[in-house]
């Protein structure tokens, strides 16, 4: 870990605590006020989970997976999706609605750990942090799925998510866009000059793009109450962090040169 970087533990705390707070705020403020104005909190929580997940992807994929960075992101989204819906169903069955996100997080950790153990011990991938990373990425994936699903549905009850996210088909959009937000930053920045700050600024930018998609979907379910605040915050977040990423890129580059326009035909010869 280079100087000035955020430690894995710090990012885990940001992701888990931030993600859960966002999801709880959205659910309880929405249900207390009987509106959908507060759905954007869950989106912000999911963006923080993207922030954490992108760093976990960054740590494990820098060993070289051999299959491209997207593979681990999609694997964990697959694990996270099953964990989220089972977690919501368990909470519904035992009437512990408040515990649903935490149960989903624990179940995601179990599937992630099993996949990590299989990848390292059976398939014998030579990556020392495989188990821990797979677990972290699956947990981040479950928070991303649950966060964006809560933004769309306005709450995290199994019935709400089932009806408004799964049956409406938005779950596939959440799956792919949430996954892209988490795996794209390292995929785009990898190389010998990769730097955590730049990758994570890109992660926040892609996270806000995913939030924008969730905002559009939320508009179809809960109307402008859910869509307008989510989309405004997402657009501003995206612009701010994309500009920061751009500034970081310029700072890290050896030189920024203009190549000019394409040469005219006679000049080529």
């Amino acid at each position: 870990m280079a100087e000035g970087e955020r430690s894995p533990r710090q990012l885990l705390t940001i992701g888990v605590v931030g993600g859960l707070i966002g999801i709880y705020l959205a659910n309880y403020l929405n249900s207390t006020t009987g509106t959908a104005w507060f759905s954007f909190f869950a989106g912000l929580g999911a963006v923080l989970a993207v922030f954490w997940g992108a760093d976990a992807v960054r740590r494990v994929a820098s060993y070289g997976l051999g299959t491209g960075v997207p593979s681990i992101g999609l694997l964990s989204l697959g694990a996270g999706q099953v964990a989220v819906l089972l977690g919501l169903a368990v909470a519904m069955n035992y009437s512990i609605h408040w515990a649903a996100p935490i149960i989903a997080l624990i179940l995601a950790a179990i599937i992630g750990l099993v996949s990590g153990v299989m990848a390292r011990r059976v398939i014998k991938m030579n990556i020392a942090i495989m188990e821990r990373s797979m677990m972290e990425i699956a947990m981040a994936a479950s928070l991303i799925m649950l966060g964006f699903s809560t933004t769309i549905a306005g709450g995290f009850g199994f019935d709400l998510i089932m009806k408004y996210v799964v049956a409406s088909g938005f779950i596939i959009a959440v799956f792919i866009v949430g996954g892209m937000a988490m795996l794209h930053p390292f995929n785009a920045c990898l190389g010998p000059d990769e730097r955590q700050k730049r990758t994570l600024n890109l992660a926040l930018s892609t996270g806000f793009i995913a939030m924008l998609v969730a905002g559009i979907a939320a508009g179809a379910i809960n109307g402008i109450q859910a869509a307008v605040p989510t989309m405004i915050i997402a657009i501003f977040g995206w612009i701010i962090y994309y500009l920061r990423f751009f500034a970081d890129t310029k700072q890290d580059a050896a030189a920024v040169l203009s190549t000019g326009l394409l040469p005219k035909e006679e000049e080529v010869a």
Binding site: L77, G78, A79, A167, S168
Partner: protein, 246 residues
């Protein structure tokens, strides 16, 4: 209701998906620059393309026949095999007429199926290019297996969820009931779990059944077995957790 048979089907489906990936000619990034044999993209994308087509085929067969087992499974396999042949064929057209390289494998001297000489046509410094005969046939077999696996997972999940009270409802004007959406979403999740495990096993690239890496198959079967057992159990526990439906 929770059925042990469905769990076994999900595990079997997961193993078939993992095994299928070993047959598919995955070239990865080098193949995209026509420097290795196979279709020029990663396993995740390739398996997802054929697997999801298989799932669409299986899903439409399931809906059209009211849940006929054989028809669903066969349609899943055929749709996936069709997709991979289209993918490999179009990629071959681009390799031959666009990049200007012959289709050849660097892993074998003679193609096991067509018996054509390979090593003479491999450009120096590369590991072959395009999808030659054996890899093509191997890909069709692999996609069929993976499609059958995905269809088995889908069938088991859809048949389990169809019994949950309230899951026969539909969202707005959509024709598909709840249980179809949930089964499809989970089938995609379990598909990705298994195909990524298998792609880690082959280290990202493979040419087909004639590739030496194919011998690693047993490890992948064990990994798929465990991963889909846990994933499948979680997916099926939803049935147990919702006795009263929603």
């Amino acid at each position: 209701m929770f059925s042990l048979l469905y769990w076994v089907w999900i595990i079997l489906g997961g193993i078939l998906i993992g095994a299928g990936v070993h047959f598919i000619p995955v070239g990865g990034a080098p193949a995209a620059m026509s420097q290795a044999t196979g279709v020029g993209t990663g396993t995740t994308m390739l398996a997802a393309a054929s697997g999801l087509t298989g799932l669409i085929g299986a899903g439409s067969a399931y809906a059209a026949t009211g849940g006929d087992f054989g028809y669903t499974i066969v349609m899943g396999g055929i749709s996936a095999a069709l997709m991979i042949s289209i993918l490999a064929f179009i990629a071959n057209v681009m390799y031959v007429y666009g990049a200007g390289v012959p289709l050849a494998s660097a892993k074998v001297k003679y193609d096991p199926i067509s018996k054509w000489r390979q090593d003479l046509y491999v450009s120096r410094g590369t590991e072959g290019h395009g999808t030659p005969m054996s890899s093509f046939i191997s890909g069709i077999i692999g996609a069929f297996l993976a499609g059958v696996g995905g269809a088995l997972v889908y069938f088991a999940l859809a048949a389990s969820y169809a019994g949950i009270p309230g899951f026969g409802a539909t969202f707005a004007g959509y024709p598909a009931p709840y249980y179809v959406s949930l089964a499809a979403a989970f089938a995609i999740g379990i598909f990705f779990l298994n195909c990524v495990m298998a792609s880690y096993n082959i280290g990202g690239t493979i040419e087909g059944f004639h590739d030496p890496k194919f011998r690693r198959l047993p490890k992948s079967i064990l990994a798929s077995l465990v991963v889909s057992a846990v994933g499948g159990l979680f997916a099926l526990l939803i049935v147990v957790m919702l006795p009263g439906g929603i």
